[in-house]
Amino acid sequence: MNNSFELYNARTHRIGRLACALCAVLFLGAPFLMGAVLGGKPDMAAFGRALLAVGPVWIISSVAEYLIYTPMLGAGGSYLAFITGNLINMKIPCAINARDMVGAKSGTAENEIISTLSIATSSLVTILVLALGVVLLLPLQPLLQNPALQPAFDNVVPALFGAMAYKYFRGNLKVAALPLVAMCLLFTFVPSLSSATSFMILPAGGIAIAIAYMLHKKGAKAQ
């Protein structure tokens, strides 16, 4: 890795941390500003109760997401992804798709650049589509809320994962078979786990990584 890229990386961390800190202040400050405008500041006692009631699962989930996705996204990509959200249903598949399209290897300078470009583009397109959508909300509403089209938008995630499943399973059947069967059986016998699908990524990923490691080891020994 050359010096200019090391300098780029060091600056990425500095800018990323500053951007995250700025966004944390904005995201947490906005409710107070809105409260002042509306004439009703947040009730901190009710906030504490709500945080205890709904917070733990999401706080743990966001920490788990951080640990899982940062290695996939690299530094620049992860700073941006955690600011802009929609990780599982958009940013992660988008970055992985971009990485594979150009054949970038993880941990390389190229992967860092591709991941950042991909997530920045995806975030800007989302912001643009939503801004246009909000401007056109009234004329678009009848079309988008047409009952005939609802199944299409209710199934965006299955459509995304169907496409991605083919792409990744076809070349990695040995890695995919066991976690796929295990997850199908688990969700069949314990259907209530449906609400905790994002947590089940951890054991499924763990099984897949263990198998991939065994195959990798076997391949290395054979050479």
Binding site: P31, L38, D43, A46, W58, S61, Y79, I83, L130
Partner: protein, 249 residues
């Protein structure tokens, strides 16, 4: 003035639009820096442009889906807040659940505009912001050390473990997809009672159609040398899956 018209007031649009503009600016800065750094280390500009085009086409359909989330939440929370939450930091599956839970915790019977007050609204907004802060806070304090550690463990690991990083990332993604596929299968088989097969089969049919469409796109890209098709393969496959969902109804 009703609470909903207050929530849709120009001042609310200004606050939310301002925050979104700052985040958009951050994205532009990261994008320009990455592009320039890519050129500086000798990366092919065409390759980087392909990534931008592919990421754009990839994002449009899910973004329209997210727009529906804005519409769904706008009945109870007005338009500006869902617009802000879903343009940045938020996630479609997260916002509705947390807003609902927060509404109940502040004493509303559910997420609805009829019972909403200014205090309830600002409290719900604060809960929605606070619960999803984990990723941002971890990024501020740990990303530098975490990515350095990942980098050094990659470079130290020669022999058997050498070059395993890519396979581990692909395996993790396979695990992610497996968890979602398993969920759809489980919901079909046992969603309405163990082994009743009374759940919805639409998600599985949609996945199957999207997978077949992806197979066709990859065939065209790889066997017919139509590499450009790959830029649109995900978006095109998703569109096929979503059309199938409409046809199934």
């Amino acid at each position: 003035m009703t609470i909903l018209s207050q929530l849709n007031s120009p001042a609310m649009y200004l606050i939310c639009g301002g925050v979104i503009a700052v985040v958009a600016l951050i994205c532009v800065v990261f994008m320009i820096r990455a592009y320039r750094a890519g050129l500086a280390i000798g990366m092919d500009a065409t390759k980087m442009r392909r990534v931008i085009i592919s990421s754009t086409t990839f994002t449009i359909l899910p973004a329209v889906g997210i727009l529906l989330g804005v519409i769904a939440l706008s009945g109870a929370l007005g338009t500006p807040l869902p617009w802000l939450r879903l343009s940045v930091i938020g996630a479609l599956h997260y916002e509705t659940q947390v807003a609902q839970g927060a509404a109940e915790s502040v004493g509303l019977s559910g997420l609805n505009a009829t019972e909403m007050t200014a205090t309830a609204f600002s409290t719900i907004t604060l809960v929605m912001s606070a619960c999803i802060m984990g990723g941002i806070l971890m990024s501020i304090f740990f990303t530098k050390r975490y990515t350095k550690r990942l980098g050094s463990s990659d470079s130290k690991s020669g022999g058997v473990a050498g070059g395993f990083g890519d396979k581990a990332m692909t395996a993790m993604f396979i695990g992610l997809v497996s968890a979602y596929v398993g969920n759809y299968v489980g919901q079909l088989v046992s969603g309405e009672g163990l082994f009743t097969f009374a759940g919805s089969w639409t998600p599985i049919a949609v996945m199957a159609v999207a997978a077949i469409a992806m197979a066709v796109f990859l065939y065209l890209a790889e066997k017919k040398q139509a590499a450009w098709v790959e830029n649109f393969s995900i978006a095109g496959s998703m569109l096929c899956g979503m059309i199938a969902a409409v046809l199934i109804g």
